[in-house]
């Protein structure tokens, strides 16, 4: 293999894609701010986190290239997120059942 191996240019993401994602992220930010003004009761936190989740999925997949990378990175990320999630769920057994 030549010294010229480089990983990311298997798939070069166009400038346009990045700008598009950025615009979506901005509009989601505006949405989340706007929605926070409406009294949704218990759904305030839920909506806010949902929008944050969508935003982070976009950042991870496009800006951080997970969508275009080898599967191993997806597996790794899955392991890390699942672990964090499991900890959240397990600690909830204490926090929400006191």
């Amino acid at each position: 293999m030549s010294q010229e191996q480089h990983t990311a240019d298997k798939h070069q993401v166009g400038y346009g894609t990045y700008v598009l994602i950025w615009l979506v992220l901005l509009s989601l930010t505006v949405t989340t701010v706007a929605v926070s003004g409406i009294n949704l009761g218990n759904f305030i936190l839920f909506t806010a986190l949902l929008i944050a989740l969508v935003k982070s999925i976009l950042v991870v997949n496009v800006f951080m290239h997970i969508k275009f990378d080898e599967p191993i990175f997806k597996v790794f990320l899955g392991v890390a997120i699942m672990t964090l999630l499991a900890v959240f769920i397990l600690i909830s057994f204490d926090i929400f059942f006191r």
């Binding site: 890390a80 397990l90 926090i95």
Partner: protein
């Protein structure tokens, strides 16, 4: 393997001329073997310090009231004994010393993936260790919180807490970097033909451990940072006076510190899976079961942390859930033990020193594991929580388990690492002393704890006197055995006979290179064609 080098034509890595000479050729070396040996020496030194502290603690408990030190000093002793043994000895333990030395060789690589990062983690280890020792001599006095740093005491006590905490943070960083390095190494640097299922089981164990190191250690990092922030600025997160919740600290602390137990024990289980097939002269029974049980332990081990907190005041639901989950760990652990024993069955066993250590391990670890069930079930836990029973349990698991295997690994790989043999007879005597002393000292503690002797107390009621005497007596035998073992290895290092390439008849890659190995381990990277524990003669015997 087609990679045999005549002993006369190669230069071993000790003699290799590098950029630096003398001490600098070690502390600036990025060679994984040198780093492994530097870790080993650092750990042995810290172990001796920790052992001395433990010895003095037992001496203090010989008589009621003051024997040699006052209560505050005793508090500092058990805190330091814990910090040193856990953060400086047993957590870096097998991965840092033997993992660094043998992981690249066992997968047929010339070094780890990030050699400079590897050197950095050694430096962080030494720096953290020295920082912890240094904090003893500062105004305010040595830390007295216990190694668990429980709040609110750790934010109130006037002793030096911040610097040892900082030291623990730095040591955590060192551990993370080692884990990160090992995961990457296993993914990137395996020799041709070395598929995941042809890797030695020690590598599997290190790989599982490395993942825990990466995913669990940051949680203790943030916990430590928060305690420091709390002490400096009083933000209130852990301070009940300001509305904070100390139980949350315990959660975060054990989210790391329980998986840390598996950082300690998994590599030891890996070493057992190396030693048993070598000395039973047959392939391991249930290779995949053992490999996957390592991953399973790493995985389940992450989700049982709150069983350390059954009496902390957390919710009933959580107590129930965590007690249930705790019992699940027994399954993959059981899988391992059954497979080890099955490997020994009908093997042509050669009772070499490493195997004897493994036998001692299986005995001690079984006691440790079974008493763990007593602690894991809610009802019995409440009775023995925070007593000597707990102390005895985790010494059976950590000392009888991990440290015993660390010594086994030392005796198993000593010829390869140093190119010398030690006196096997003396080694056996030392093991006998350790085994007898260990049980005398710690088994009594089970009884003491069951009778109600609380841990970390400086004084005790008269009815415990006899058992405390026996336990302290046991500590003398144990220390004698340990000193004899180190003396014997030191003599081997200085005056031992030259070791052959493969003294035990091992089948993994490290036994195909000379002892000690040359600088880049292999002249030609080997091509792997069969299972790690392939004994060609085995078929004929059946």
């Amino acid at each position: 393997m087609g990679n045999h080098v005549l002993d006369t034509t190669y230069i071993d890595f000790y003699k290799e001329k590098g950029k630096y000479s003398g001490l600098f050729s070690w502390i600036f070396s990025t060679d994984h073997k040198r780093i492994g040996i530097m870790y080993l020496f650092g750990m042995v030194i810290f172990f001796l310090v920790g052992m001395t502290l433990g010895f003095l603690m037992k001496l203090e408990m010989l008589t009621k009231g003051q024997t040699i030190v006052d209560a505050q000093t005793y508090n500092a002793f058990f805190t330091l004994h814990g910090i040193i043994m856990i953060f400086l000895f047993i957590i870096p333990g097998i991965p840092a010393a033997f993992g660094n030395f043998f992981l690249p060789i066992q997968i047929g690589a010339k070094d780890v993936a990030f050699p400079r990062l590897n050197l950095l983690s050694w430096w962080l280890y030494i720096f953290g260790g020295l920082l912890a020792i240094f904090s003893l001599f500062l105004a305010g006095g040595p830390i007295d919180t216990g190694w668990t740093f429980y709040v609110p005491y750790s934010i109130r006590t006037q002793t030096n807490v911040i610097i040892p905490l900082l030291a623990a943070f730095i040591l955590g960083f060192s551990s993370i970097l080692t884990g990160l390095n090992f995961v990457t190494t296993v993914h990137r640097l395996r020799a041709p033909g070395m598929t995941f299922f042809k890797m030695p089981l020690f590598v599997w164990a290190l790989y599982s451990t490395a993942w825990i190191q990466v995913v669990a250690t940051p949680v203790i990092g943030i916990t430590i940072v928060l305690v420091i922030v709390e002490r400096l600025f009083g933000v209130g997160l852990f301070d009940p006076a300001l509305g904070g919740d100390p139980v949350l600290f315990q959660h975060l602390f054990w989210i790391y510190s329980h998986p840390a137990v598996y950082i300690m024990i998994l590599p030891a289980m890996g070493v057992v899976s190396e030693i048993i097939p070598t000395f039973a002269r047959r392939t391991i029974f249930g290779y995949k079961a053992i490999a996957f049980s390592s991953l399973a332990i790493a995985f389940i081990g992450y989700f049982v942390w709150a069983h350390h907190m059954f009496t902390s005041g957390m919710s009933e639901t959580a107590r129930f859930v965590f007690s249930l989950l705790t019992f699940l760990v027994a399954i993959p652990s059981g899988v391992k033990v059954f497979n080890w024993v099955a490997t020994l069955y009908k093997g042509s066993i050669y009772p070499g020193v490493p195997l004897l250590y493994v036998m001692a391990f299986i005995f001690l670890f079984s006691i440790g594991g079974l008493t763990g069930l007593v602690l894991g079930s809610l009802a019995t836990n409440v009775h023995v929580h925070d007593t000597y029973f707990v102390v005895a349990h985790f010494h059976y698991v950590m000392f009888g388990g991990t440290a015993m295997i660390l010594f086994a690994a030392l005796h198993y790989w000593f010829p390869k690492m140093f190119g010398k043999m030690y006196n096997e007879k003396t080694a056996k005597v030392a093991l006998a002393l350790i085994f007898i002393g260990f049980n005398t000292m710690y088994f009594t503690m089970f009884i003491l704890g069951y009778q109600g002797m609380p841990r970390r107390y400086w004084d005790y009621l008269p009815e415990y006197t006899a058992l405390h005497h026996i336990s302290t007596f046991g500590s003398w035998i144990l220390v004698a055995g340990l000193l004899l073992m180190f003396y014997n290895l030191l003599m081997g290092l200085l005056k031992g006979e030259k070791a052959p390439m493969n003294p035990w008849g091992g089948t993994t890659l490290e036994w195909t290179v000379p002892s000690p190995p040359p600088l880049e381990n292999f002249d030609v990277i080997p091509t792997v064609t069969h299972e790690p524990y392939y004994h060609p003669n085995e078929e004929e015997k059946h």
